[in-house]
């Protein structure tokens, strides 16, 4: 499944129909859809199968428009029957511009996914790419099926379509790419819960540099930002403990000074100039 969205003050979607909808009838407090028993041989999944992760790519683990029928409240539902909260469907309009080519597969610790989009979608809310163009882009990988928190991001990279850039895209004239070109390795990091108002506010020493349009790479690298992200989440507790450590260190030094002073005074008063 793919979705065409963008991040501003929160997550937004492009215009059009998304690739999923919530499978819930709020008025009647029940699901809207269930599995089509004629197409799938079942009405629902079993909770014990889901929690035991007895699902694979070839099995049925999601509910899609093509094999869903309206929920039947009169069916003989059993304890442990479970219906997915999301109904998957084909995206439409600008939001449906990005598609998964072929099958997405998880194997040997990696996802193998090919996402496809037209260079120019013709949609006003999409960026149009052109040959010889150079564009800024960044990557984010979300984990644990969450769309907002606990995601990893990259610093910005430049993409060149047939011209010099961090990532050089080469043209494919026929068919599909064979993916034999060298990998481009990039570093992802967990950015923490750091929001834009903080970055451009008094608390961020680099706010003026952001206002001046200076790139983040000039002052931070991924390693530093990964640590900063975590520190920001525990800012108050860490700052308090830091202040206590500072004071305790000064107290210890003061105590040592008082402890040492008599040894130095006695000999001074006794004498050698």
């Amino acid at each position: 499944m793919s979705d065409d969205q963008w991040v501003g003050e929160h997550r937004h979607s492009d215009a059009g129909r998304g690739p999923y909808t919530t499978n819930w009838d709020a008025e009647n407090t029940r699901p809207q859809w269930m599995f089509d028993p004629e197409a799938t041989g079942r009405h629902a999944l079993r909770w014990e199968d889901v929690t035991a992760e007895r699902v694979d790519f070839d099995g049925l683990y999601y509910l899609a428009e093509s094999f869903a029928v309206p929920f039947d409240p009169d069916h003989d539902w059993q304890e442990g029957d479970v219906i997915p909260r999301r109904l998957l469907r084909e995206g439409e309009g600008s939001r449906g511009d990005i598609r998964v080519a072929g099958d997405a597969r998880w194997s040997d610790g990696y996802w193998d996914v090919t996402l496809v989009r037209d260079l120019d979608t013709g949609q006003p809310d999409d960026k149009a790419f052109a040959s010889q163009g150079r564009y800024d882009l960044a990557f984010a990988v979300h984990r644990n099926a969450t769309g907002s928190r606990w995601h990893y991001v990259s610093l910005p990279y430049s993409l060149g379509l047939g011209r010099e850039a961090d990532i050089l895209a080469s043209s494919v004239t026929e068919g599909t790419p064979d993916w034999s070109q060298p990998w481009f390795d990039l570093t992802l990091y967990y950015p923490g819960q750091v929001d834009w108002p903080l970055l451009i506010g008094e608390a961020h020493a680099g706010a003026e540099k952001i206002a001046a349009g200076l790139p983040v790479r000039a002052h931070h690298d991924e390693r530093q930002l990964a640590h900063y992200g975590v520190e920001m989440e525990f800012q108050d507790a860490i700052q308090r403990q830091w202040a206590l450590t500072l004071v305790a260190g000064l107290l210890l030094l003061a105590g040592l000074f008082i402890g040492l002073l008599p040894a130095f005074r006695r000999h001074h008063s006794g004498g050698t100039p």
Binding site: E202, I238, L246, L250, G255, L256, F257, L260
Partner: protein
């Protein structure tokens, strides 16, 4: 104020590095060089502490206090700067009070330990300053080898803080008792 802070920071670094070297020579060596170090240490320490005070004050003009306290690097920089200043202030007073006798016996050993501690602390302060100025040095690898990532705030667990305060009280009580006895 940034340029002023960078310029001023070289004074305590130079004077304190020289002071630590003079302590080592004054305590461990003999002869005219040791005598010279013993005689000249006090003014070097005074200049170092004055330079550090000016550097510290100029540092507060670079960023807002809120920004200073929000960055792990600046928190660490401040902590090391205050601890360095405290160590060299102690050395200054001890050398002032002790005179030439401060360099002999266990007193000399105390000066050496404090001098080395001060060197380690101001080296860390300068290294962190280098990171903040965008010019880190290879010295950063040393604290990392010892287990401290410079991009994370340096702080001690609460129980360690408790031990530090208890040690401070014990040392101070011991000192006051000895001072009292000396006055009898």
């Amino acid at each position: 104020m940034t340029g002023m802070h960078h310029m001023l920071a070289h004074f305590p670094v130079a004077f304190w590095a020289l002071a630590s070297l003079m302590i080592l020579v004054g305590v461990l060596a003999k002869g005219w060089l040791a005598d010279l170090c013993q005689a000249a240490l006090l003014p070097v320490l005074i200049l170092g502490v004055l330079g550090a005070l000016a550097t510290l004050l100029s540092g507060y003009g670079i960023w807002s206090l809120e920004a200073l306290l929000h960055s792990p690097l600046t928190r660490n920089h401040l902590l090391m700067a205050f601890w360095s200043l405290a160590v060299y202030l102690i050395l200054l007073v001890l050398v002032w009070v002790g005179g030439r006798d401060a360099f002999s016996g266990p007193r000399g050993l105390a000066l050496v330990v404090l001098g080395l501690l001060g060197t380690w602390l101001f080296a860390l302060t300068g290294t962190l300053g280098g990171h903040l100025a965008g010019a880190p040095t290879f010295f950063s690898a040393l604290p990392r080898l010892l287990g401290w990532e410079l991009y994370t705030t340096f702080y001690a667990p609460t129980w360690v803080l408790g031990v530090m305060v208890l040690l401070a009280i014990a040392a101070a009580v011991l000192g006051f008792r000895r001072l009292k006895r000396a006055h009898r």
